[in-house]
Protein backbone atom coordinates (compact mmCIF):
# COMPACT_ATOMS: atom_id res chain seq x y z
CA UNK A 1 0.00 0.00 0.00
CA UNK A 2 1.55 3.31 -1.02
CA UNK A 3 -0.12 6.32 0.41
CA UNK A 4 0.70 9.63 -1.13
CA UNK A 5 1.40 12.36 1.35
CA UNK A 6 -1.93 13.98 0.73
CA UNK A 7 -3.81 10.71 1.19
CA UNK A 8 -1.99 10.17 4.45
CA UNK A 9 -2.99 13.61 5.61
CA UNK A 10 -6.61 12.88 4.68
CA UNK A 11 -6.51 9.60 6.60
CA UNK A 12 -5.06 11.35 9.63
CA UNK A 13 -7.70 14.02 9.48
CA UNK A 14 -10.47 11.39 9.26
CA UNK A 15 -8.99 9.41 12.12
CA UNK A 16 -8.66 12.55 14.24
CA UNK A 17 -12.24 13.52 13.50
CA UNK A 18 -13.42 10.05 14.57
CA UNK A 19 -11.46 10.25 17.84
CA UNK A 20 -12.87 13.68 18.58
CA UNK A 21 -16.38 12.47 17.81
CA UNK A 22 -15.97 9.48 20.16
CA UNK A 23 -14.68 11.76 22.93
CA UNK A 24 -17.65 14.05 22.46
CA UNK A 25 -20.08 11.11 22.65
CA UNK A 26 -18.39 9.70 25.76
CA UNK A 27 -18.40 13.08 27.54
CA UNK A 28 -20.57 13.11 30.62
CA UNK A 29 -21.87 16.52 29.54
CA UNK A 30 -23.54 15.01 26.48
CA UNK A 31 -27.13 16.16 27.02
CA UNK A 32 -28.95 12.85 26.71
CA UNK A 33 -30.15 12.45 30.27
CA UNK A 34 -27.65 9.90 31.53
CA UNK A 35 -27.48 11.97 34.73
CA UNK A 36 -31.04 10.82 35.50
CA UNK A 37 -30.41 7.07 35.31
CA UNK A 38 -28.88 4.71 37.86
CA UNK A 39 -29.94 1.31 36.42
CA UNK A 40 -30.89 0.04 39.84
CA UNK A 41 -27.86 1.44 41.65
CA UNK A 42 -30.07 3.74 43.70
CA UNK A 43 -31.90 0.68 45.07
CA UNK A 44 -28.60 -1.07 45.87
CA UNK A 45 -27.59 1.99 47.89
CA UNK A 46 -31.01 2.20 49.56
CA UNK A 47 -30.62 -1.42 50.70
CA UNK A 48 -27.06 -0.74 51.93
CA UNK A 49 -25.67 -3.20 49.41
CA UNK A 50 -23.42 -0.57 47.90
CA UNK A 51 -21.84 1.59 50.58
CA UNK A 52 -18.44 2.60 49.25
CA UNK A 53 -16.20 2.85 46.20
CA UNK A 54 -15.10 -0.79 46.42
CA UNK A 55 -18.70 -2.04 46.47
CA UNK A 56 -19.42 0.18 43.49
CA UNK A 57 -16.46 -1.06 41.47
CA UNK A 58 -17.40 -4.71 42.12
CA UNK A 59 -21.01 -4.12 41.10
CA UNK A 60 -19.98 -2.21 37.99
CA UNK A 61 -17.90 -5.18 36.91
CA UNK A 62 -21.06 -7.31 37.00
CA UNK A 63 -22.96 -4.73 34.95
CA UNK A 64 -20.17 -4.58 32.39
CA UNK A 65 -19.45 -8.30 32.06
CA UNK A 66 -22.95 -9.69 32.56
CA UNK A 67 -25.24 -7.02 31.11
CA UNK A 68 -23.39 -4.81 28.62
CA UNK A 69 -20.95 -7.35 27.17
CA UNK A 70 -23.43 -10.15 26.38
CA UNK A 71 -26.31 -7.71 25.75
CA UNK A 72 -26.14 -4.01 24.85
CA UNK A 73 -22.80 -4.22 23.07
CA UNK A 74 -23.92 -7.09 20.84
CA UNK A 75 -26.85 -4.97 19.66
CA UNK A 76 -24.59 -1.94 19.29
CA UNK A 77 -22.20 -3.90 17.08
CA UNK A 78 -25.03 -5.25 14.91
CA UNK A 79 -26.48 -1.76 14.47
CA UNK A 80 -23.05 -0.33 13.72
CA UNK A 81 -22.32 -2.97 11.09
CA UNK A 82 -25.65 -2.35 9.37
CA UNK A 83 -25.42 1.44 9.48
CA UNK A 84 -21.85 1.68 8.22
CA UNK A 85 -22.74 -0.52 5.23
CA UNK A 86 -25.81 1.54 4.42
CA UNK A 87 -25.46 3.38 1.16
CA UNK A 88 -27.98 6.07 2.00
CA UNK A 89 -31.25 6.74 3.78
CA UNK A 90 -33.12 4.57 1.32
CA UNK A 91 -31.14 1.46 2.18
CA UNK A 92 -34.10 -0.52 3.50
CA UNK A 93 -32.09 -3.68 4.11
CA UNK A 94 -29.64 -1.88 6.37
CA UNK A 95 -32.44 -0.13 8.23
CA UNK A 96 -34.17 -3.48 8.75
CA UNK A 97 -31.00 -4.89 10.29
CA UNK A 98 -30.74 -1.93 12.66
CA UNK A 99 -34.37 -2.36 13.70
CA UNK A 100 -33.84 -6.09 14.25
CA UNK A 101 -30.98 -5.33 16.64
CA UNK A 102 -33.14 -2.73 18.37
CA UNK A 103 -36.13 -5.02 18.83
CA UNK A 104 -34.04 -7.99 19.88
CA UNK A 105 -32.28 -5.89 22.53
CA UNK A 106 -35.63 -4.64 23.79
CA UNK A 107 -37.00 -8.21 24.05
CA UNK A 108 -33.85 -9.20 25.94
CA UNK A 109 -33.97 -6.31 28.41
CA UNK A 110 -36.30 -7.63 31.10
CA UNK A 111 -36.37 -4.92 33.80
CA UNK A 112 -39.00 -2.40 32.71
CA UNK A 113 -37.02 0.60 33.98
CA UNK A 114 -33.97 -0.41 31.95
CA UNK A 115 -36.02 -0.37 28.76
CA UNK A 116 -37.50 2.99 29.66
CA UNK A 117 -34.10 4.51 30.43
CA UNK A 118 -32.60 3.08 27.24
CA UNK A 119 -35.35 4.45 25.00
CA UNK A 120 -35.41 7.81 26.78
CA UNK A 121 -31.66 8.42 26.45
CA UNK A 122 -31.68 6.84 22.98
CA UNK A 123 -34.39 9.20 21.82
CA UNK A 124 -32.47 12.20 23.14
CA UNK A 125 -29.24 11.15 21.45
CA UNK A 126 -31.10 10.66 18.20
CA UNK A 127 -32.69 14.10 18.25
CA UNK A 128 -29.39 15.68 19.28
CA UNK A 129 -27.58 14.09 16.35
CA UNK A 130 -30.26 15.25 13.92
CA UNK A 131 -29.67 18.81 15.07
CA UNK A 132 -25.93 18.48 14.58
CA UNK A 133 -25.65 16.90 11.17
CA UNK A 134 -27.86 15.85 8.29
CA UNK A 135 -27.57 12.14 7.59
CA UNK A 136 -30.34 10.50 5.57
CA UNK A 137 -29.81 7.11 7.23
CA UNK A 138 -30.07 8.58 10.74
CA UNK A 139 -33.19 10.41 9.55
CA UNK A 140 -34.73 7.19 8.25
CA UNK A 141 -33.99 5.39 11.52
CA UNK A 142 -35.39 8.30 13.56
CA UNK A 143 -38.61 8.13 11.53
CA UNK A 144 -38.89 4.39 12.27
CA UNK A 145 -38.54 5.17 15.99
CA UNK A 146 -41.10 7.97 15.77
CA UNK A 147 -43.53 5.66 13.98
CA UNK A 148 -43.19 3.13 16.79
CA UNK A 149 -41.69 0.52 14.49
CA UNK A 150 -38.61 0.16 16.65
CA UNK A 151 -37.82 1.17 20.24
CA UNK A 152 -34.74 3.35 19.69
CA UNK A 153 -32.68 1.95 22.56
CA UNK A 154 -29.54 3.84 23.44
CA UNK A 155 -26.96 1.19 22.46
CA UNK A 156 -28.54 0.85 19.02
CA UNK A 157 -28.79 4.61 18.49
CA UNK A 158 -25.16 4.91 19.54
CA UNK A 159 -24.20 2.16 17.09
CA UNK A 160 -25.94 4.03 14.27
CA UNK A 161 -24.55 7.50 15.02
CA UNK A 162 -21.00 6.27 15.56
CA UNK A 163 -21.07 4.28 12.33
CA UNK A 164 -22.31 7.30 10.42
CA UNK A 165 -19.59 9.59 11.83
CA UNK A 166 -16.68 7.25 11.19
CA UNK A 167 -16.17 6.02 14.75
CA UNK A 168 -15.13 2.35 14.59
CA UNK A 169 -17.21 -0.46 16.04
CA UNK A 170 -14.86 -1.38 18.88
CA UNK A 171 -14.30 2.22 19.81
CA UNK A 172 -18.06 2.73 19.83
CA UNK A 173 -18.40 -0.16 22.29
CA UNK A 174 -15.75 1.43 24.50
CA UNK A 175 -17.67 4.72 24.33
CA UNK A 176 -20.80 2.89 25.53
CA UNK A 177 -18.88 1.35 28.45
CA UNK A 178 -17.21 4.63 29.40
CA UNK A 179 -20.54 6.41 29.25
CA UNK A 180 -22.25 3.77 31.36
CA UNK A 181 -19.53 3.73 34.01
CA UNK A 182 -19.32 7.51 34.27
CA UNK A 183 -23.11 7.72 34.50
CA UNK A 184 -23.27 5.22 37.36
CA UNK A 185 -20.20 6.67 39.06
CA UNK A 186 -21.87 10.07 38.82
CA UNK A 187 -25.03 8.64 40.34
CA UNK A 188 -22.96 7.05 43.12
CA UNK A 189 -21.25 10.36 43.75
CA UNK A 190 -24.62 11.88 44.56
CA UNK A 191 -26.02 8.87 46.42
CA UNK A 192 -22.94 8.04 48.50
CA UNK A 193 -21.18 11.42 48.62
CA UNK A 194 -18.13 9.83 47.02
CA UNK A 195 -15.20 12.18 46.52
CA UNK A 196 -13.94 13.07 43.04
CA UNK A 197 -10.77 11.02 43.49
CA UNK A 198 -12.75 7.96 44.58
CA UNK A 199 -14.98 8.30 41.55
CA UNK A 200 -11.98 8.47 39.24
CA UNK A 201 -10.46 5.47 41.02
CA UNK A 202 -13.63 3.48 40.36
CA UNK A 203 -13.66 4.47 36.71
CA UNK A 204 -9.99 3.49 36.39
CA UNK A 205 -10.56 0.18 38.15
CA UNK A 206 -13.37 -0.59 35.71
CA UNK A 207 -11.19 -0.19 32.64
CA UNK A 208 -10.13 -3.86 32.39
CA UNK A 209 -13.78 -4.95 32.72
CA UNK A 210 -14.77 -2.47 30.00
CA UNK A 211 -12.18 -3.92 27.64
CA UNK A 212 -13.28 -7.45 28.55
CA UNK A 213 -16.94 -6.62 27.98
CA UNK A 214 -16.11 -5.29 24.53
CA UNK A 215 -14.19 -8.49 23.76
CA UNK A 216 -17.05 -10.64 25.12
CA UNK A 217 -19.46 -9.04 22.68
CA UNK A 218 -17.34 -9.54 19.59
CA UNK A 219 -18.39 -12.97 18.34
CA UNK A 220 -22.02 -13.06 19.32
CA UNK A 221 -24.94 -12.97 16.97
CA UNK A 222 -28.13 -11.17 17.95
CA UNK A 223 -29.79 -14.39 19.09
CA UNK A 224 -26.81 -15.08 21.33
CA UNK A 225 -27.50 -12.10 23.55
CA UNK A 226 -27.56 -13.42 27.10
CA UNK A 227 -27.52 -10.59 29.64
CA UNK A 228 -28.08 -12.09 33.07
CA UNK A 229 -27.73 -10.42 36.48
CA UNK A 230 -30.71 -11.43 38.63
CA UNK A 231 -29.97 -9.28 41.69
CA UNK A 232 -29.60 -6.26 39.44
CA UNK A 233 -33.03 -7.06 37.99
CA UNK A 234 -34.50 -7.44 41.44
CA UNK A 235 -33.10 -4.12 42.66
CA UNK A 236 -34.59 -2.53 39.57
CA UNK A 237 -37.96 -4.10 40.40
CA UNK A 238 -37.74 -2.62 43.91
CA UNK A 239 -36.68 0.73 42.45
CA UNK A 240 -39.78 0.84 40.24
CA UNK A 241 -41.90 0.99 43.40
CA UNK A 242 -39.67 3.05 45.69
CA UNK A 243 -41.44 6.03 47.25
CA UNK A 244 -38.55 8.45 47.10
CA UNK A 245 -35.97 8.38 44.39
CA UNK A 246 -33.59 10.68 42.64
CA UNK A 247 -33.20 8.66 39.48
CA UNK A 248 -35.57 7.39 36.82
CA UNK A 249 -34.08 3.90 36.91
Amino acid sequence: MSDTASNGATDDAQADAAVLESLRLADSSLPVGTDSVSYGLEAFVAADRVADADDLAALLETYLRRQLGPGDLVALRAAHAAARDASDGRDEAALTRVCQADRRLNATTLPAEFRESATRTGGRLLSLQRELRADPFVEAYARAVEDGETPGAYPVVLGVVTARTGVGERRACLVACQEFVTALAGAAQRLLQLGHTDVQRVVTECQPAMAAAVADSADRSLDEMTPFAPLVEMRSAAHERADRRLFLS
Partner: protein, 345 residues
Protein backbone atom coordinates in the same frame (compact mmCIF):
# COMPACT_ATOMS: atom_id res chain seq x y z
CA UNK B 1 -31.70 -22.62 19.60
CA UNK B 2 -34.91 -24.49 19.05
CA UNK B 3 -37.38 -22.99 16.66
CA UNK B 4 -41.10 -22.97 17.09
CA UNK B 5 -42.86 -26.22 16.43
CA UNK B 6 -44.16 -26.57 12.91
CA UNK B 7 -47.75 -26.89 13.97
CA UNK B 8 -49.15 -23.79 15.54
CA UNK B 9 -51.28 -23.75 18.64
CA UNK B 10 -54.76 -25.03 18.10
CA UNK B 11 -53.96 -27.64 15.50
CA UNK B 12 -54.71 -30.72 17.43
CA UNK B 13 -56.42 -32.93 14.93
CA UNK B 14 -55.10 -35.91 13.01
CA UNK B 15 -52.20 -36.67 15.32
CA UNK B 16 -50.19 -39.65 14.22
CA UNK B 17 -47.36 -41.46 15.86
CA UNK B 18 -44.10 -39.96 14.82
CA UNK B 19 -42.04 -42.58 13.02
CA UNK B 20 -39.05 -40.64 11.81
CA UNK B 21 -36.02 -40.44 14.02
CA UNK B 22 -34.79 -37.12 15.17
CA UNK B 23 -31.87 -35.97 13.16
CA UNK B 24 -30.96 -32.90 15.18
CA UNK B 25 -29.25 -34.85 17.95
CA UNK B 26 -26.33 -35.46 15.63
CA UNK B 27 -26.29 -31.86 14.53
CA UNK B 28 -25.07 -30.38 17.76
CA UNK B 29 -22.77 -27.77 16.37
CA UNK B 30 -25.67 -25.81 14.92
CA UNK B 31 -27.93 -26.23 17.91
CA UNK B 32 -25.81 -25.48 20.95
CA UNK B 33 -27.47 -24.20 24.10
CA UNK B 34 -24.81 -21.50 24.16
CA UNK B 35 -21.59 -20.95 22.19
CA UNK B 36 -19.71 -21.94 25.35
CA UNK B 37 -20.93 -25.52 24.84
CA UNK B 38 -19.00 -25.92 21.56
CA UNK B 39 -15.99 -27.52 23.27
CA UNK B 40 -18.23 -30.01 25.12
CA UNK B 41 -19.99 -30.98 21.91
CA UNK B 42 -16.71 -32.18 20.43
CA UNK B 43 -16.25 -34.71 23.23
CA UNK B 44 -17.58 -38.09 22.10
CA UNK B 45 -19.18 -40.47 24.54
CA UNK B 46 -18.00 -43.95 25.44
CA UNK B 47 -20.70 -46.55 24.75
CA UNK B 48 -24.00 -45.24 23.47
CA UNK B 49 -23.58 -42.06 21.47
CA UNK B 50 -25.03 -38.63 22.02
CA UNK B 51 -28.80 -38.79 21.79
CA UNK B 52 -28.74 -42.57 21.20
CA UNK B 53 -31.61 -44.85 22.19
CA UNK B 54 -32.39 -44.25 25.83
CA UNK B 55 -30.67 -40.88 25.70
CA UNK B 56 -33.16 -39.26 23.35
CA UNK B 57 -36.10 -38.81 25.70
CA UNK B 58 -39.15 -37.40 24.07
CA UNK B 59 -42.36 -36.14 25.54
CA UNK B 60 -45.27 -34.84 23.53
CA UNK B 61 -48.47 -33.75 25.19
CA UNK B 62 -51.47 -32.18 23.53
CA UNK B 63 -54.59 -30.91 25.25
CA UNK B 64 -57.92 -30.01 23.72
CA UNK B 65 -61.07 -28.45 25.08
CA UNK B 66 -64.02 -30.83 25.10
CA UNK B 67 -67.21 -29.22 26.32
CA UNK B 68 -66.66 -28.12 29.89
CA UNK B 69 -63.44 -30.10 30.25
CA UNK B 70 -59.93 -30.27 28.94
CA UNK B 71 -58.73 -33.62 27.66
CA UNK B 72 -55.25 -34.97 27.10
CA UNK B 73 -55.62 -35.95 23.45
CA UNK B 74 -52.09 -37.04 22.79
CA UNK B 75 -49.32 -38.34 24.99
CA UNK B 76 -46.18 -39.73 23.58
CA UNK B 77 -43.51 -40.51 26.13
CA UNK B 78 -40.22 -42.12 25.31
CA UNK B 79 -37.70 -43.17 27.97
CA UNK B 80 -36.97 -41.69 30.45
CA UNK B 81 -40.31 -39.88 30.40
CA UNK B 82 -43.45 -41.56 31.59
CA UNK B 83 -47.00 -40.27 31.80
CA UNK B 84 -49.33 -42.31 33.98
CA UNK B 85 -52.50 -40.34 33.38
CA UNK B 86 -54.21 -37.16 34.36
CA UNK B 87 -55.29 -35.67 37.63
CA UNK B 88 -58.27 -33.41 38.02
CA UNK B 89 -57.18 -31.40 41.03
CA UNK B 90 -56.88 -28.03 39.33
CA UNK B 91 -59.23 -25.52 40.99
CA UNK B 92 -60.02 -24.27 37.48
CA UNK B 93 -63.22 -26.13 36.46
CA UNK B 94 -61.87 -26.84 32.97
CA UNK B 95 -58.32 -27.62 34.12
CA UNK B 96 -56.45 -30.85 33.53
CA UNK B 97 -53.15 -31.79 35.18
CA UNK B 98 -50.40 -34.11 34.01
CA UNK B 99 -47.54 -35.19 36.23
CA UNK B 100 -44.59 -36.32 34.16
CA UNK B 101 -42.50 -39.05 35.75
CA UNK B 102 -38.90 -39.74 34.99
CA UNK B 103 -37.92 -43.09 36.47
CA UNK B 104 -34.27 -42.78 35.36
CA UNK B 105 -31.87 -41.53 38.01
CA UNK B 106 -31.45 -38.24 36.29
CA UNK B 107 -30.17 -36.43 33.24
CA UNK B 108 -26.81 -37.80 32.10
CA UNK B 109 -24.07 -36.73 29.72
CA UNK B 110 -25.10 -37.04 26.09
CA UNK B 111 -28.81 -36.90 26.87
CA UNK B 112 -30.87 -34.90 24.41
CA UNK B 113 -34.43 -34.49 25.58
CA UNK B 114 -37.24 -33.02 23.58
CA UNK B 115 -40.46 -31.89 25.20
CA UNK B 116 -43.46 -30.39 23.48
CA UNK B 117 -46.73 -29.35 25.04
CA UNK B 118 -49.56 -28.03 22.91
CA UNK B 119 -52.70 -26.56 24.42
CA UNK B 120 -55.60 -26.09 22.04
CA UNK B 121 -58.14 -23.27 21.95
CA UNK B 122 -59.85 -22.72 25.31
CA UNK B 123 -58.12 -25.72 26.89
CA UNK B 124 -56.59 -25.33 30.37
CA UNK B 125 -53.61 -27.55 31.18
CA UNK B 126 -51.11 -27.90 33.98
CA UNK B 127 -47.94 -29.88 33.33
CA UNK B 128 -45.42 -30.58 36.02
CA UNK B 129 -42.97 -33.25 37.11
CA UNK B 130 -43.41 -35.72 39.93
CA UNK B 131 -39.94 -35.05 41.36
CA UNK B 132 -36.89 -32.85 40.94
CA UNK B 133 -34.81 -33.21 37.81
CA UNK B 134 -31.29 -34.24 38.80
CA UNK B 135 -28.63 -33.28 36.29
CA UNK B 136 -25.89 -35.80 37.03
CA UNK B 137 -22.13 -35.36 37.11
CA UNK B 138 -20.49 -35.45 33.70
CA UNK B 139 -17.06 -36.11 32.31
CA UNK B 140 -17.67 -35.72 28.60
CA UNK B 141 -20.09 -33.87 26.33
CA UNK B 142 -23.19 -32.34 27.95
CA UNK B 143 -26.93 -32.79 28.42
CA UNK B 144 -29.58 -30.69 26.74
CA UNK B 145 -33.30 -30.30 26.74
CA UNK B 146 -35.52 -28.53 24.22
CA UNK B 147 -38.92 -27.49 25.45
CA UNK B 148 -41.55 -26.20 22.99
CA UNK B 149 -44.78 -24.89 24.50
CA UNK B 150 -47.72 -23.65 22.45
CA UNK B 151 -51.06 -22.27 23.59
CA UNK B 152 -54.00 -21.60 21.29
CA UNK B 153 -56.64 -18.90 21.41
CA UNK B 154 -58.28 -18.57 24.82
CA UNK B 155 -56.17 -21.45 26.16
CA UNK B 156 -53.97 -21.57 29.22
CA UNK B 157 -50.91 -23.58 30.16
CA UNK B 158 -49.10 -23.88 33.47
CA UNK B 159 -45.68 -25.41 32.88
CA UNK B 160 -44.08 -25.42 36.29
CA UNK B 161 -41.74 -28.38 36.79
CA UNK B 162 -40.13 -29.34 40.10
CA UNK B 163 -36.64 -27.86 40.68
CA UNK B 164 -33.61 -28.74 38.59
CA UNK B 165 -30.67 -29.84 40.74
CA UNK B 166 -27.22 -29.47 39.23
CA UNK B 167 -24.80 -32.08 40.54
CA UNK B 168 -21.00 -31.52 40.57
CA UNK B 169 -19.48 -31.12 37.09
CA UNK B 170 -22.91 -31.09 35.43
CA UNK B 171 -23.18 -29.32 32.07
CA UNK B 172 -26.73 -28.60 31.10
CA UNK B 173 -28.35 -26.53 28.41
CA UNK B 174 -32.03 -25.90 28.01
CA UNK B 175 -33.93 -24.01 25.33
CA UNK B 176 -37.57 -23.20 25.97
CA UNK B 177 -39.86 -21.61 23.41
CA UNK B 178 -43.37 -20.42 24.14
CA UNK B 179 -45.76 -19.68 21.29
CA UNK B 180 -48.87 -17.90 22.48
CA UNK B 181 -52.02 -16.88 20.68
CA UNK B 182 -52.64 -13.19 21.39
CA UNK B 183 -55.45 -13.97 23.85
CA UNK B 184 -53.81 -17.02 25.42
CA UNK B 185 -52.11 -17.12 28.81
CA UNK B 186 -49.31 -19.19 30.26
CA UNK B 187 -47.26 -19.56 33.40
CA UNK B 188 -43.80 -20.97 32.83
CA UNK B 189 -41.47 -21.52 35.75
CA UNK B 190 -38.15 -22.91 36.71
CA UNK B 191 -36.20 -23.32 39.94
CA UNK B 192 -32.48 -24.03 39.64
CA UNK B 193 -30.64 -25.51 42.62
CA UNK B 194 -26.83 -25.38 42.38
CA UNK B 195 -26.15 -28.80 43.95
CA UNK B 196 -27.36 -31.08 46.72
CA UNK B 197 -27.22 -28.26 49.23
CA UNK B 198 -27.77 -30.51 52.25
CA UNK B 199 -24.57 -32.36 51.30
CA UNK B 200 -22.65 -29.14 51.14
CA UNK B 201 -22.57 -29.06 47.34
CA UNK B 202 -22.87 -25.54 46.06
CA UNK B 203 -21.98 -24.27 42.62
CA UNK B 204 -19.85 -27.32 41.92
CA UNK B 205 -21.53 -27.80 38.53
CA UNK B 206 -19.67 -26.69 35.45
CA UNK B 207 -22.15 -24.83 33.29
CA UNK B 208 -25.85 -24.17 33.13
CA UNK B 209 -27.39 -22.23 30.26
CA UNK B 210 -31.11 -21.84 29.85
CA UNK B 211 -32.95 -19.66 27.37
CA UNK B 212 -36.62 -18.82 27.11
CA UNK B 213 -38.12 -17.15 24.08
CA UNK B 214 -41.74 -16.05 23.95
CA UNK B 215 -43.43 -15.39 20.64
CA UNK B 216 -46.89 -14.43 19.51
CA UNK B 217 -47.93 -14.46 15.86
CA UNK B 218 -44.30 -14.84 14.88
CA UNK B 219 -43.15 -11.74 16.78
CA UNK B 220 -40.49 -12.19 19.43
CA UNK B 221 -41.82 -10.72 22.67
CA UNK B 222 -39.29 -11.88 25.25
CA UNK B 223 -35.84 -13.48 25.13
CA UNK B 224 -34.40 -14.36 28.51
CA UNK B 225 -31.17 -16.19 29.21
CA UNK B 226 -29.77 -17.63 32.40
CA UNK B 227 -26.12 -18.50 32.22
CA UNK B 228 -24.10 -19.73 35.17
CA UNK B 229 -20.59 -21.12 34.84
CA UNK B 230 -19.12 -21.27 38.35
CA UNK B 231 -15.77 -22.68 37.25
CA UNK B 232 -15.18 -20.37 34.32
CA UNK B 233 -12.60 -17.65 34.67
CA UNK B 234 -14.49 -15.11 32.61
CA UNK B 235 -15.64 -12.44 35.00
CA UNK B 236 -18.10 -12.17 37.87
CA UNK B 237 -19.30 -15.62 39.01
CA UNK B 238 -22.62 -16.63 40.56
CA UNK B 239 -21.75 -15.17 43.97
CA UNK B 240 -20.74 -11.77 42.60
CA UNK B 241 -22.71 -8.68 43.61
CA UNK B 242 -25.64 -8.17 41.26
CA UNK B 243 -25.62 -11.85 40.28
CA UNK B 244 -26.91 -14.24 42.96
CA UNK B 245 -24.85 -12.63 45.73
CA UNK B 246 -25.15 -14.67 48.91
CA UNK B 247 -28.07 -16.68 47.52
CA UNK B 248 -27.89 -20.14 45.98
CA UNK B 249 -31.27 -20.98 44.46
CA UNK B 250 -32.67 -19.09 41.47
CA UNK B 251 -36.38 -19.14 40.74
CA UNK B 252 -37.95 -17.65 37.62
CA UNK B 253 -41.61 -17.42 36.73
CA UNK B 254 -42.94 -15.92 33.52
CA UNK B 255 -46.59 -14.96 33.79
CA UNK B 256 -47.56 -14.46 30.18
CA UNK B 257 -50.72 -12.70 29.12
CA UNK B 258 -50.22 -10.55 26.02
CA UNK B 259 -53.81 -9.27 26.17
CA UNK B 260 -53.80 -8.30 29.86
CA UNK B 261 -52.69 -5.13 31.69
CA UNK B 262 -49.17 -6.13 32.69
CA UNK B 263 -48.41 -2.98 34.70
CA UNK B 264 -51.18 -3.55 37.22
CA UNK B 265 -50.41 -7.25 37.50
CA UNK B 266 -46.68 -6.56 37.94
CA UNK B 267 -47.40 -4.23 40.85
CA UNK B 268 -49.71 -6.75 42.52
CA UNK B 269 -47.29 -9.62 42.04
CA UNK B 270 -44.36 -7.58 43.28
CA UNK B 271 -46.24 -6.81 46.44
CA UNK B 272 -47.21 -10.45 46.79
CA UNK B 273 -43.68 -11.80 46.44
CA UNK B 274 -41.68 -9.36 48.55
CA UNK B 275 -41.11 -10.78 52.01
CA UNK B 276 -44.33 -11.97 53.67
CA UNK B 277 -46.54 -9.51 51.88
CA UNK B 278 -44.62 -6.56 53.29
CA UNK B 279 -44.40 -3.47 51.13
CA UNK B 280 -41.41 -2.96 48.91
CA UNK B 281 -40.06 -0.38 51.33
CA UNK B 282 -40.35 -2.74 54.29
CA UNK B 283 -38.69 -5.45 52.27
CA UNK B 284 -35.78 -3.17 51.52
CA UNK B 285 -35.51 -2.44 55.23
CA UNK B 286 -35.68 -6.14 56.07
CA UNK B 287 -33.01 -6.77 53.51
CA UNK B 288 -30.78 -4.23 55.18
CA UNK B 289 -31.17 -5.40 58.74
CA UNK B 290 -31.27 -9.13 58.36
CA UNK B 291 -30.42 -11.72 55.80
CA UNK B 292 -33.80 -12.61 54.31
CA UNK B 293 -34.52 -16.16 53.37
CA UNK B 294 -35.76 -15.09 49.98
CA UNK B 295 -35.49 -11.92 47.96
CA UNK B 296 -37.94 -11.51 45.13
CA UNK B 297 -39.38 -8.99 42.73
CA UNK B 298 -41.61 -8.53 39.72
CA UNK B 299 -41.30 -6.41 36.63
CA UNK B 300 -43.20 -5.92 33.38
CA UNK B 301 -41.85 -8.02 30.53
CA UNK B 302 -41.06 -6.39 27.18
CA UNK B 303 -43.68 -5.96 24.46
CA UNK B 304 -46.61 -6.28 26.85
CA UNK B 305 -45.97 -10.03 27.19
CA UNK B 306 -46.77 -10.14 30.89
CA UNK B 307 -44.78 -10.19 34.11
CA UNK B 308 -41.44 -11.64 35.19
CA UNK B 309 -41.01 -12.80 38.78
CA UNK B 310 -37.64 -13.79 40.09
CA UNK B 311 -36.89 -15.13 43.54
CA UNK B 312 -33.51 -15.90 45.06
CA UNK B 313 -33.10 -17.94 48.21
CA UNK B 314 -30.82 -20.13 50.26
CA UNK B 315 -32.99 -23.25 49.85
CA UNK B 316 -35.33 -24.53 47.16
CA UNK B 317 -38.59 -24.74 49.12
CA UNK B 318 -38.96 -21.09 50.09
CA UNK B 319 -38.17 -20.06 46.50
CA UNK B 320 -40.74 -22.51 45.14
CA UNK B 321 -43.26 -21.21 47.67
CA UNK B 322 -42.65 -17.61 46.66
CA UNK B 323 -43.14 -18.42 42.99
CA UNK B 324 -46.30 -20.31 43.90
CA UNK B 325 -47.59 -17.17 45.59
CA UNK B 326 -47.13 -15.23 42.35
CA UNK B 327 -48.65 -18.03 40.28
CA UNK B 328 -51.63 -18.19 42.61
CA UNK B 329 -52.11 -14.45 42.46
CA UNK B 330 -51.94 -14.28 38.65
CA UNK B 331 -54.43 -17.15 38.34
CA UNK B 332 -56.81 -15.33 40.69
CA UNK B 333 -56.39 -12.27 38.52
CA UNK B 334 -57.08 -14.04 35.25
CA UNK B 335 -59.58 -16.75 36.17
CA UNK B 336 -60.82 -16.06 39.68
CA UNK B 337 -59.27 -19.34 40.89
CA UNK B 338 -55.84 -19.93 42.36
CA UNK B 339 -53.02 -22.22 41.28
CA UNK B 340 -53.18 -25.98 41.79
CA UNK B 341 -51.70 -27.10 45.09
CA UNK B 342 -48.42 -28.97 45.01
CA UNK B 343 -49.38 -32.65 45.34
CA UNK B 344 -45.85 -33.97 45.28
CA UNK B 345 -45.43 -34.11 49.06
Amino acid sequence: MATDSASGPGELTAQTEESTDRSDSTDDTTDLPDPAFAAYAEESLPGAGVGAAGKDGRLELAFARDGTETRLVRDLARTPFHVSGTLGHDPHPAGETVYVQSPAGGVAQGDRHDISVTVGPDAVAHVTTSSSTKVLSMERNYAASDVALAVGSGGHLDYVPAPTILHPDARFGQATTVDLAPDATAVVGEVVVPGRLARGERFDFERYASTCEVRSEGELLVADATHLAPGADDGPGPAAPGMLGEFAVLGTLYLLAPAADAAALADRLHEAVVADGATARDAAAADRDTDPEVTAGATRLPNGAGVLVRALGHRADPVTDRLHTAWDSAREDWFGVGAPADRRQ
